[in-house]
Amino acid sequence: MFVELNNLLNTTPDRAEQGKLTLLCDAKTDGSFLVHHFLSFYLKANCKVCFVALIQSFSHYSIVGQKLGVSLTMARERGQLVFLEGLKSAVDVVFQAQKEPHPLQFLREANAGNLKPLFEFVREALKPVDSGEARWTYPVLLVDDLSVLLSLGMGAVAVLDFIHYCRATVCWELKASILYLMQGNMVVLVHDSGDAEDEENDILLNGLSHQSHLILRAEGLATGFCRDVHGQLRILWRRPSQPAVHRDQSFTYQYKIQDKSVSFFAKGMSPAVL
């Protein structure tokens, strides 16, 4: 969790907003540091996290998590973190016939229509446990990253359906016995292909941008590579359900990634330049 980013977003693990969809987007740079931030943020906020990690292995997130002060192995052991390691599961699915439906079942099929098994996995993982005591504050779904699903043969519409179903389950869920709204959060990462003319990706990105409450967009600098400023972060707050009475707030900061933290500064105010 990057303290400076918390200050910019005006949140702390204790009083984070609930029922929100956050979209992380990166264009011409690597936005994975935002995923690490939110993962450690929600683990520190004592939430039940379901992490669908499609692009990197568990040890990668675990080692970076240790630098940011959370232990993923311990979180997994005590049940706070449900981790779907996409790479390992893909190898299992492709090389061995599975008896029960597997979250990544679509890899075996030529024209898989939807991501239903994956949604079932998420719903099962974030189901509130009937133990009586509320151990975790609220459920969180984290996906890294959605553009990989497009590369694996799913259409943009299927991915949008999956996000819609997940939102309906995670962000608003009624429990039958106790009628209360368990409002969870969702954080997804999508790559912006820029001028690569990836239509499916553009559909997905536009569709998600309209649904999300908070958009964090990491971009490379327009002038090219710089040693001291690694990129620019655009923060956009939205209220998708209300009419556009309030103007959406947008801030832009530049950042530099260090070994264990990320420092943010206003445009042109990099400590190296001043």
Partner: protein, 425 residues
């Protein structure tokens, strides 16, 4: 101490996967800090593999790509468990060289090779590997090693210290200091036959395998890719690169080389049609390959004719699914061949992507304009610079030509903004 003792590499996932599989397994990779899972060992045992070294930044295990200059640009070497994607140059002249350097490095270090091609028989590819340039001391070591491979280990009876005969042979503990990391190769000579025969290699030649009746799980990839994935997975499993075979004493690296992936010879039509039926085959293949590599001690080089791929979106997806992406652009046949700016070089090399593994940052080099040239013996990568102006009469017109052509360099060159007139000091 930190660099040697901590090898919390990408293949630490091997450690966790292995540790859950069988507790009595010895893994050669250590995570930083205390180990979460306990093995039956008394303490941490560091066994290092020939030809690898831990990264300076985070202790990850690296192998050499065969070109020390490229290793330096990638931050020390290629991490074990990752894919190096080479975007081929237009006429496929220089990318096979990088491919062969990678394989030659594997032979010199004693790694196992897996060569896959749809165009050439892997045995022929191995015959054409460049010979290593060894100085005399290394050469003697080499000849001894090769000799030892051929003769079976005869138990020389110890006369004086006969008690030591009963002890098992020591594994090499600590960093491997005798063998270098990254060798130079002589492109004009061939690798000696004994070295090739002494090495352990597996070949996958598509025309042979496509007709075989190897039992293959149904998958939605093109048959060529499915067979290749099955082959790779078999080798990894049978030879224990994923830690599944605990009897293996000596750990080794598997170097996988796949040539011309995505070309029509593999049965894929992304180079022929813009929206073919198999547009997801290649990306699915790369995804499953990434999964296989991340859970085993292997490194992979793939050459791909990306300039032929019609759909630009696929190139972007392929780049995301690979770890290191290096693009080659040769000057042959282009207008740049006669450009005085580029007269010393054969082409440009672009490092398009470097992975951030186990880390928030990566070792990106500051130099963005790199060029390569193939001298008679060596393949060198250098920073692109303007040639010195050594003409007797320094005329204005020649300087104008250079300034014009220098305008075409990338923005990271460090030259002043181009314009027609320049200041003459």
């Amino acid at each position: 101490m930190a660099a040697v003792a901590t090898c919390g590499s990408v293949a630490a996932s091997t450690g966790s996967a292995v540790a859950t599989a069988s507790k009595s397994n010895v893994t050669s990779f250590q995570r930083r800090g205390p180990r979460a899972s306990v093995t039956n060992d008394s303490g941490p045992r560091l066994v290092s593999i020939a030809g690898t070294r831990p990264s300076v930044r985070n202790g990850q295990l690296l192998v050499s790509t065969g070109l020390p200059a490229l290793d330096q640009l990638l931050g020390g070497g290629l991490a074990v468990g990752t894919v190096l994607l080479i975007e081929e140059d237009k006429y496929n002249i220089y990318s096979p060289l990088l491919f062969k350097y990678f394989l030659a490095e594997g032979i010199v270090n004693g790694h196992t090779l897996l060569v896959a091609s749809a165009k050439e028989d892997p045995a022929n590819i191995l015959q054409e590997l460049p010979a290593p340039l060894l100085d005399d001391k290394c050469k003697k070591e080499f000849d001894e090693d090769v000799y030892n491979h051929k003769t079976p280990e005869s138990n020389i009876k110890m006369k004086i210290a006969w008690r030591y005969q009963l002890l098992p042979k020591m594994e090499q503990i600590g960093p491997v200091s005798s063998s270098r990391f990254g060798h130079y190769y002589d492109a004009s000579k061939r690798m000696p036959q004994e070295l090739i025969e002494a090495s352990n290699w597996h070949g996958f030649f598509l025309p042979e395998k496509i007709s075989s009746t190897l039992k293959v799980e149904p998958c939605s990839l093109t048959p060529g890719y499915t067979k290749l994935l099955q082959f790779i997975q078999n080798i990894i499993y049978e030879e224990g690169f994923d830690g599944s075979n605990p009897q293996k004493k000596q750990r080794n690296i598997l170097r996988i080389g796949i040539q011309n992936l995505g070309s029509p010879l593999w049965g894929d039509d992304i180079c022929c049609a813009e929206n073919g039926g198999n547009s997801h085959s290649l990306t699915k293949f790369l995804y499953v390959l990434r999964g296989l590599l991340r859970t085993s001690l292997s490194a992979c080089i793939i050459t791909m004719p990306t300039h032929l791929i019609q759909n630009k979106a696929i190139i972007a997806r392929v780049t995301t699914l690979s770890d290191v992406v290096v693009g080659l652009e040769s000057f042959i046949g282009s207008e740049r061949e006669t450009n005085p700016l580029y007269k010393d070089y054969h082409g440009l090399i672009h490092i398009r992507q470097i992975p951030r593994l186990n880390n928030l940052i990566c070792d990106e080099s500051d130099v963005k304009d790199l060029a390569f040239k193939l001298k008679r013996k060596l393949f060198t990568i250098e920073r692109l610079h303007l040639p010195p102006d050594l003409s007797d009469t320094v005329s204005r017109s020649s300087k104008m030509d250079l300034a014009e052509s220098a305008k075409r360099l990338g923005p990271g060159c460090g030259m002043m903004a181009g314009g027609k007139k320049h200041l003459d000091f």
